[in-house]
Symmetry: C2
């Protein structure tokens, strides 16, 4: 079994993790989280989302957060831009990468954005073009890539369709996202294989939710295919607004614990990562949603 010798983690806690928090998190706390993630060695952070504050009030401070970050050399700061208005607002903040998204389920696409998969991707075409013209890297998130809350299992053919359409409009990298966490190792491998029909191994990442406790098994299965880039969320922050009970991006701490235990380098200092998770968890007044963080914090208390 050949594993990658190095894995790149994109921490999505500041955006995907905090997006659905009901109580407002001040910009300075979000900035504090980004800084602590940087201190822990994270080189790519999904910082915020340039969306309508009517839809996602938690992200209304996107520009303030981006402006407040002390950027580190070699680090990459990504933001979500669902449309041209969002992109234009984002542009002033000089993101290194933008993220666009498309669901791999027709039912999900129709229920949530009232159009087909193909139409949803087409809408991003001008955003992607504009980003590429400005030299900004474009990542596409393929959501509900394994299962959908409305139609159940999602066929790998749908993932391939989204990957093909994203490739067509110039998206440079795709993340295969098990948004509701129902995936298991073989299904996740099939979804990744579908994306790999249109993207190189270096341009595909895994984004797994731990709703059913499956994310680390799925990560292991993806590693065995050579996939070496993963989105994870410090302290396991986050969930999915569309899927009841779908709480929890996989915790960065749990993934890093596994990788380091396997001798796979991440460049991340696990102790400092636990600090970052404790910082935001303390602010939110709840324990980190990470088993590794919980165990390591217990150990610190002696």
């Amino acid at each position: 079994m050949k594993y990658p010798s190095r894995v790149k983690i994109v921490d999505v806690a500041p955006r995907d993790g905090l997006q659905n928090e009901k109580a407002p998190v001040p910009a300075e706390v979000k900035i504090g989280l980004v800084h602590r993630l940087q201190d822990a060695g994270l080189k790519e952070i999904e910082v915020t989302s340039f969306v309508s504050p009517k839809w996602v009030p938690q992200m209304a401070d996107a520009a303030e957060v981006m402006a407040g970050i002390e950027r580190r050399p070699g680090a990459r700061y990504s933001v979500l831009t669902p449309n041209m208005k969002g992109f234009e607002a984002a542009l002033a903040c000089r993101p290194d990468e933008i993220v666009v998204f498309g669901a791999a389920s027709e039912a999900f696409s129709h229920r949530n954005i009232n159009c087909s998969i193909a139409e949803s991707i087409e809408r991003f075409a001008p955003v992607v073009s504009a980003a590429r013209e400005h030299g900004i890297h474009v990542r596409g998130a393929i959501s509900v890539a394994v299962g959908c809350p409305y139609e159940g299992e999602v066929s790998p053919a749908n993932v391939e369709l989204v990957a093909r359409l994203m490739k067509g409009i110039g998206v440079q990298h795709v993340g295969v996202a098990d948004t509701i966490g129902v995936g298991t190792p073989l299904k996740v491998q099939r979804a990744l294989e579908a994306a790999l029909k249109h993207y190189d191994l270096d341009d595909v990442s895994g984004h797994f939710h731990d709703t059913y406790g499956q994310a680390l098994g799925n990560t292991l299965a993806a590693l065995q295919m050579g996939v070496w880039q993963y989105d994870t969320s410090c302290a396991g922050l986050g969930g999915c607004p569309y899927a009841k009970g779908a709480t929890g991006n996989v915790a960065t701490e749990d993934v890093v614990y596994m990788l380091h235990g396997m001798g796979i380098a991440t460049g991340i200092d696990l102790d400092k990562l636990v600090d970052a998770g404790k910082y935001i968890s303390d602010f939110l007044r709840r324990p980190p949603n990470s088993r590794a963080a919980t165990a390591l914090l217990n150990k610190r208390q002696g």
Copy 2:
């Protein structure tokens, strides 16, 4: 990748799971749990432990629990017997299997039972002989097989030593137990390989704790070696009295969810298993420590 087509789960919740609960759990509740596990399709259940009630008061009702179970044909009921006195008490209850144990760490063995690994196994020799004479199957648990709270990483050579010594006294099957949950996939595979030097694949099982969130990745790694028998605990009940912060056998629900998602048969009805976990969790007045159970219970509530 070749996976087993079928997996046998030994649910250890009634014994390993409840053993360290401080508040007494009445025998009828333990019996109720065993019955619900049977209803869910479990064919092997670790029921209780014949130990001194001074040491483990929660298991003082061992004989009552064993006597109260309505046994199902084809099911196997196992009990822990740490010494001849325990074995003799167990014998009257007609267990199908007894479990003996040995630590793979000298430090752990000395700190907890004040003798070397070799001495600890030798003490079980008369128990194993007696059991075999009575036609009772003997399973050996190799504890702290990957990591030890006192000496850190445990060498596979130690696991091999315990396996060899257990083989020598007539133990028929060994379980490789990551008692404190620090294992990651490659380390777990090396520990299993060490046991497989002395036991056939059909006589080795995995027993993983989810303390650091690693148990499902470890299970996947073990499946890839052909290991098809696992100890798990309904509702994730249990922990380790010797290791601070070491909470949580892996939840049967999470393992079954993964296996079924991979098309691997278990004979278990996941919905009924969730019922069993809810039954004991309701009694203990806390939610099941299982992500799959939590997600499935959320879904039921619509």
